[in-house]
């Protein structure tokens, strides 16, 4: 799967939880999920479950701790797809 496709799906999954529409409109690999998109940190649990369902992968709790930016999420998912 192309990185751009994964990116598109990641952004779609983050969209309902993002409280900053401006940051969402200009989202990039560098966008920070909590600080820029203003996603409530408690909801990362729901975001990760949605990643697992969307890409049919399993994401370990320690992997979740490495996800700060949209790029981190995309790269983590890409590594599980390999």
């Amino acid at each position: 799967m192309e990185q751009s496709e994964v990116m598109k799906s990641v952004v779609k999954i983050l969209t309902p939880w993002a409280k900053n529409p401006d940051a969402l409109a200009g989202v990039s690999m560098e966008t920070n999920i909590l600080d820029d998109l203003k996603v409530n940190s408690a909801r990362l649990v729901d975001v990760v479950i949605a990643f697992e369902d969307e890409f049919d992968i399993e994401i370990a709790d320690e992997d979740v701790d490495t996800v700060n930016t949209v790029g981190n999420a995309v790269n983590l998912i890409m590594s599980k797809l390999d």
Binding site: P16, A18, R43, L44, V45, D46
Partner: protein, 431 residues
């Protein structure tokens, strides 16, 4: 009398909000009450699961309202009771003249709190998600939002976040007296000078898991499954149990001083309130009221209101359509010292919406405020065959809407646990 009372201790109602089985929103609810519109329907779910009672009061069209009102992240984490409560609270808040906070606005209403109760709470989430998820060993996949939907205080916590409330925010729970008790508790806080304003009321979801235990107790209506609008029959000889209901009713209480200072429109005054428990004695039990407790509660509210029993112009009873109705009428008569021919007109909102459990007091308080404000008493449906023990009081029961010069209307709620709550409302223009 009222003029001599301390204005900072007088409590008025400046906002109303409602999600009810027969109407959503206060204007539509007012019309439905006046027209005697029943919100009781056949519920497919109850038929499929072979309940004895297959009719209920469930608000209609709520999901469309939720979609138009709340952002997706909020919609994803609210259970049904919270959806009802949030819509009703927002309506009450804007009705009181306040604006909904904008995203990113960090101001907090430190002088405004909330007591929003629920009788059963997040049973829908427990039954439909937590139990199946845990039993399937999929705890990790429950997601982040189970706790906030099943914690008892979730319903008030949700509203504090939506409206940026900074005073006490809590959830009370006293079974079927919950909504009325919430209003009494909020008024106490204002009168104690601890808050300027409180959003108070109750909410309950429409859900078979919530209603199942009542069906098992055989306290629900079973004989009118094919005739839903006739099923909720308070005061009737053919009443055979209550019809489960749901929804939310919320009022904004405010000190008169604060309401007048900001030029708020005042719907009515909450003249007084009483709360007590019958102690499960003298005929009282977990499931039945001690009649002495009921009478004392009504009298406590009158004393608190500073009025004589003769000043009560109308009653909106608890009146669920069970065998307890005749006892309740006796208690009203004894507490007010007003016998047949002298008992004030007596109606039951439950005849239209069913028994909304923890939401009942909230819904019925909104109905009570509308009636005392506008001078009418809505009909008590389906009691054309008045229970023989209530027959001497038949003239007090309205089968059609009565236009009345109402000054004082009294509302009570009684709940499992032998708990009672009573509210005395006064028309503000006639104060």
């Amino acid at each position: 009398m009222s003029e001599t009372r301390d204005r900072s201790r007088r409590v008025v109602i400046t906002g109303l909000g409602v999600i009810a089985p027969n109407a959503n929103g206060v204007a539509a609810f007012d019309t439905a009450l006046r027209n005697g519109v029943s919100g009781i329907r056949k519920i497919d779910d109850l038929e499929e699961y072979e309940f004895g009672c297959q009719v209920a009061g469930a608000p209609q069209g709520v999901e469309e309202l939720v979609e138009a009102t709340f952002a997706e992240d909020e919609r994803l984490v609210m259970n049904e009771g919270q959806r009802f409560a949030s819509l009703a609270a927002l309506e009450a808040w804007t009705d009181a003249g306040f604006e909904r906070p904008e995203l990113g606005d960090d101001r907090v209403h430190w002088e405004t709190g909330a007591v929003i109760g629920t009788g059963i709470g997040g049973m829908d989430v427990i039954a439909e998600r937590i139990i199946p998820g845990v039993d399937a060993k999929k705890v990790r996949r429950l997601g982040s939002a189970c706790v906030e939907q099943v914690m008892a205080s979730g319903v008030s916590a949700r509203i504090s976040g939506q409206l940026a409330l900074g005073n006490q925010v809590t959830t009370n729970s006293s079974a079927c007296s919950t909504g009325s008790e919430a209003i009494a508790l909020g008024a106490e806080r204002i009168r104690a000078g601890l808050a300027e304003r409180m959003l108070c009321g109750g909410a309950e979801a429409a859900n078979r898991y919530i209603w199942a235990g009542f069906d098992a107790m055989r306290v629900l209506s079973r004989k009118f499954n094919d005739d839903p609008t006739r099923a909720s029959r308070p005061l009737s000889a053919s009443a055979g149990g209550f019809v489960p209901g749901s929804g939310a009713g919320v009022v904004v209480l405010e000190s008169l001083e604060v309401a007048e200072a900001r030029g708020a429109r005042i719907h009515a005054e909450l003249l007084g309130a009483g709360i007590n428990c019958g102690g499960h004695r003298a005929g009282g039990s977990m499931t039945a009221p001690n009649p002495d407790g009921v009478r004392r509660c009504i009298q406590l509210a009158l004393v608190d209101a500073g009025i004589d029993p003769g000043e009560v112009d109308a009653i909106n009873g608890h009146l669920t359509a069970t065998g307890a109705d005749p006892r309740e009428v006796e208690s009203w008569s004894a507490a007010l010292g007003r016998g047949p021919g002298d008992l004030p007109p007596l109606t039951a909102t439950k005849s239209m919406v069913g028994h909304a459990l923890g939401a009942a007091g909230g819904l019925e308080a909104v109905a009570s405020v509308l009636m005392v404000r506008d001078g009418y008493l809505h009909p008590c449906l389906n009691c054309e065959d008045i229970h023989p023990e209530i027959e001497p009081f038949a003239d007090s029961i309205p089968h059609e809407t009565r236009e009345m010069d109402l000054r004082v209307l009294i509302k009570a709620s009684f709940g499992f646990g032998d708990v009672n709550a009573c509210l005395v409302f006064q028309n503000f223009d006639r104060a």
